[in-house]
């Protein structure tokens, strides 16, 4: 049998039929649903008189619009409230499991899938959300889709797909102390660009990737879409199985044994080839900070804001000038001199328990600078509960961070957590687009501990030699 990559094994196992031009009807094992990209899909189903094919293969949760303050007060914005109510009604009508806003299991869709054991290796997983790539950390083929495709999967449990190409991104060497998966993925995006992965599925390989925890791998795969790739994956190993074992929706008994056996056969065969390979040395990865309005506009914290005048390419120069104007930054300014107003620790990139433990260990005994407003938004109700059992909430609060309820929050500011025009934020989220965290807001993407250090000092600091 021909040697296959992890991606090819999963793809081949899900082909229902293929059109003459290669367009494939691909079977979808799991769909995650949230309130923003699903109402029109459910409406379309109803209008066509169709029903979900496998309602039990779908899990729904409201996350984008939910308030992160006291939920007993309900949702102040009636339009947000209606969207969440619509999700709950649609799921009830269709027999789909939904974790409501006041369910302790509620949280960001890409946090709760893995947390519940809904996400498993070898699966095809989709969601009307580009950060579905997160689930690739488990050795699943997981990618974001549009609302019409959400409806397509509900009705048929399948999707029409063109087969993507494969890209290996190999990271070997030793990461500096205090550098994390977030710094690795930002460095990768800086290297290949925000369209570098377009048309590809990325498989991350190499010693650094294998050494990452499952939550680190989720951070990594999460931002594959910021490199243009719809999906990113890491081969499943013993760490993957241990993470899943015993979770509420994970297989048990005989099924567990069968599943684990199948997962062992998933990693890329020796001799299999990728359409493209990119290599990165971990020693070259400094703690990363974005300076512009696209995730590829990134540099090490020991670097400087670039000078558009030094750029030979006309369009790159124009884009940089525009970004610096929006960001209110001067060329050649050291990154460590950038002062910030807000800090946001959260999002589907960095809001899991390990992120919060690490962030708390750096916040412990320190104080958020007077000029800074800082908040921590756990990824799910269960992450929040776990953190509180470990006393992390008290550490954050003593340091001057706000401790909030779970949700997407200021990653995209659809709820009340919004930057004001001109405000500058150190954020552990995934997008620094213009207006992403609020119209006129300025976002710098960083790792959780870089965010903590920035909160304490009031400006970016090189975490490698911080106190």
């Amino acid at each position: 049998m021909a040697a296959k990559t992890l991606f090819e094994k999963i793809w081949d196992a899900h082909v229902v039929r293929t059109e003459p031009d290669g367009t494939t009807l691909l079977y979808v094992d799991r769909q995650l649903v949230h309130e923003v990209t699903s109402p029109q899909a459910f409406e379309g189903l109803k209008l066509a008189g169709r029903k979900p094919r496998r309602p039990g293969a779908t899990l729904a949760v409201p996350d984008h619009n939910v308030p992160t303050t006291d939920r007993k007060l309900g949702i102040a914005d009636p339009v947000s409230a209606k969207q969440i109510r619509t999700l709950e009604e649609n799921c009830r009508d269709c027999g789909i499991t939904v974790f409501g806003m006041n369910d302790v299991r509620q949280g960001i869709v890409h946090v709760i899938g893995p947390e519940q054991g809904f996400t498993l290796p070898g699966m095809t997983i989709v969601c009307g959300d580009s950060h579905t790539s997160t689930h690739g950390a488990f050795g699943a083929l997981a990618f974001g889709i549009g609302t019409s495709e959400v409806e397509h999967v509900l009705a048929t449990q399948c999707l029409l797909q063109t087969k993507p190409k494969t890209m290996e991104i190999r990271v070997d060497g030793t990461l500096s102390e205090r550098c994390s998966a977030k710094d690795v993925i930002l460095a990768i995006i800086g290297k290949i660009g925000t369209a570098g992965g377009t048309g590809y599925v990325i498989e991350y390989t190499g010693s650094v990737i294998h050494a990452l925890t499952m939550e680190g791998r989720m951070t990594l795969c999460n931002m594959s879409i910021e490199a243009g790739a719809r999906a990113g994956m890491v081969a499943p190993d013993d760490k993957t199985a241990s993470y899943i074992k015993g979770r509420p929706m994970a297989p048990t008994g005989d099924l567990w044994e069968q599943a684990v056996k199948a997962w062992r056969a998933l990693p890329t065969d020796s001799g299999a080839t990728y359409d493209k390979t990119v290599e990165l040395r971990a020693e070259q990865v400094a703690p990363q900070v974005t300076w512009g309005t696209s995730p590829g506009m990134v540099t090490g914290v020991d670097g400087m804001v670039p000078d558009p005048k030094a750029m030979p390419d006309d369009r790159a120069r124009k884009a940089t000038e525009r970004a610096l104007e929006y960001m209110g930054l001067a060329p050649n300014m050291p990154i460590t001199q950038i002062a910030i107003d807000k800090v946001f620790i959260g999002s589907c990139t960095n809001s899991r328990i390990e992120d919060l433990r690490l962030a708390a260990s750096f916040a412990k005994g320190r104080k958020v600078a007077k000029s800074v407003h800082a908040m921590v938004v756990p990824g799910s109700g269960l992450v929040k509960k776990q953190a509180e059992q470990e006393g992390l909430d008290k550490i954050f609060q003593a340091a001057g961070f706000e401790w909030r309820e779970a949700g997407c929050s200021m990653c995209l500011a659809m709820n009340a957590d919004v930057l004001q025009p001109g405000e500058r934020c150190a954020s552990t989220s995934n997008r620094n687009f213009e207006g992403r965290q609020g119209a006129g807001g300025r976002t710098h993407l960083v790792s959780p501990i870089m965010a903590v250090a920035a909160a304490v000092e009031g400006h970016f600091v090189d975490i490698r030699n911080w106190k």
Partner: protein, 207 residues
């Protein structure tokens, strides 16, 4: 879905790279539960100046582009979020076709679901069209069957497209209806797969 055969329309230029879907339609317009009426959100933040007044330099605020149906733009158009509200808003504004050197994958897919044709031309061809569009009233003819874009002076550029997507768009086919025609193939797949990998078929409702 409205079929796309041949379309002749006024061209509007958006001379920026990496236009993300947060710019095409910002978050506050995603709270709707409908597909229609999204034109007011299209490029919302870019239409305004800092004081909130309309920016006369932005193309959508200029009378000459009000009836444009073809959007001409640069690399990696539609990157970022998967929101289908982006093509919905473009369609609501009247755009039936986008021309660019490259697109983000999810946006590209989403266009086909809504009767919008995303044409990929070479960078220098797009550059030539940008030159042409500086002339007021500049129109292009896009022929899906022939896979060509023709300028007013008769220059013709050919583009590639997957045959299956082309056929669906050309006929305005309902993709779900097409897949449902293969219901027995789907059922056969499920039967085979559930014996090979039964842990994938323990559905939530059955718990």
């Amino acid at each position: 879905m409205q079929p796309f055969t041949t379309h002749t329309g006024l061209v509007a230029p958006l001379d920026r790279v990496n236009v993300d879907t947060d710019q095409i339609i910002p978050k506050q317009f995603l709270k709707t539960i409908k597909r229609t009426g999204l034109r007011e959100g299209l490029f919302y933040d870019w239409r305004k100046r800092k004081d909130g007044s309309p920016d006369p330099d932005f193309f959508l605020n200029q009378p000459r582009y009000q009836r444009a149906t073809i959007l001409l733009t640069r690399d990696n158009f539609g990157c970022g979020s998967s929101r289908e509200h982006a093509p919905w808003a473009l369609l609501d504004q009247g755009f039936r076709c986008v021309i660019a050197p490259s697109y983000a994958d999810i946006f590209y897919n989403n266009c086909f679901q809504n009767g919008i044709l995303p044409v990929v031309l070479k960078t220098d061809e797009v550059q030539a069209l940008f030159k042409g569009v500086s002339k007021e009233g500049y129109t292009l003819t896009v022929n899906l069957d022939a896979q060509t874009v023709t300028t007013p002076d008769g220059a013709t550029y050919r583009f590639d497209i997957d045959p299956f997507r082309k056929d669906c768009l050309y006929k305005g086919l309902d993709a779900i209806g097409l897949s449902l025609q293969h219901d027995s193939a789907i059922a056969a797949y499920e039967k085979r797969r559930s014996s090979e990998a039964p842990w994938l078929f323990t559905d939530l409702a059955a718990r």
